[in-house]
Assembly symmetry: C2
Homo-oligomer: 142 residues x 2
């Protein structure tokens, strides 16, 4: 399996664990280091596996159902580090209502002795419209 396929498999294991609301699978997807970082949408960043794992326990305890569809997946791989950016399209059922939300996501993976593991997850809510009007045309400067 090439590096790209290995990283994408690690990415998919992370989301499969999230959908399954399965703490053990989520733990297995992480590097579990003191330098791990996890920023859930709207949250402060959590630093270190100990804090991060507690957040997954809390989230899984409070989430009855969740489905992900990742779109706009973009990958960059260096030697032992890889970045995957994506949009998380999240489908939830909450008190009988279907909710769809979109989260802009940065995931970083490191190659460990056991394979690629996630070491940073940063998700941020996407507002329905960009906050500033972007110029249609722009003079190229450089």
């Amino acid at each position: 399996m090439d590096k790209r396929a290995e990283v994408m498999a690690a990415h998919e294991r992370f989301y499969a664990a999230f959908e399954a609301l399965d703490y053990d699978r989520m733990a297995a997807a992480w590097a579990q280091r003191e330098t791990d970082v996890c920023t859930h949408p709207g949250w402060e960043a959590l630093f270190g596996w100990e804090e991060i794992r507690q957040s997954w326990r809390a989230i899984f305890a409070n989430t009855p159902y969740m489905r992900f569809e990742a779109t706009d997946v973009r990958l960059e791989i260096w030697e032992d580090v890889a970045r995957v950016s994506c949009v998380e399209n999240i489908f939830q059922v909450f008190e009988g209502a279907n909710l769809h939300s979109r989260v802009a996501c940065t995931n970083l993976f490191v190659r460990t002795e056991a394979g690629w593991r996630i070491t940073l997850h940063h998700g941020s809510p996407i507002a329905t419209a960009q906050q500033l009007t972007q110029p249609e045309e722009d003079e190229p400067l450089n």
Copy 2:
């Protein structure tokens, strides 16, 4: 200068350009590659320098005053890639009122021939309270 100091200098150049609302300095802080990623708080991710530079033009055109104080700065450096996480404490003046907001931030830097440059910026608004009750606060790890 050691690697850590080099990366922190690149980090400070990025925020100095942001505070100065200076497009040329901001452009000089970036790697300017097609794989660059920038997610402003509440926005979709922007991919590639062309899209990203237009966003800085729009932001600078719409921002009269902005000051940053970075706290909780955490650094990890690999061979030619480095991550800096921080909280951006943002002070703005808007229609005569002082505004303070906090943004959880992930910045990635790559080592180019010209030195360390930012290649990913991801900022997300921090809500005043965490969305789920967390078991307990943790001391910073480093």
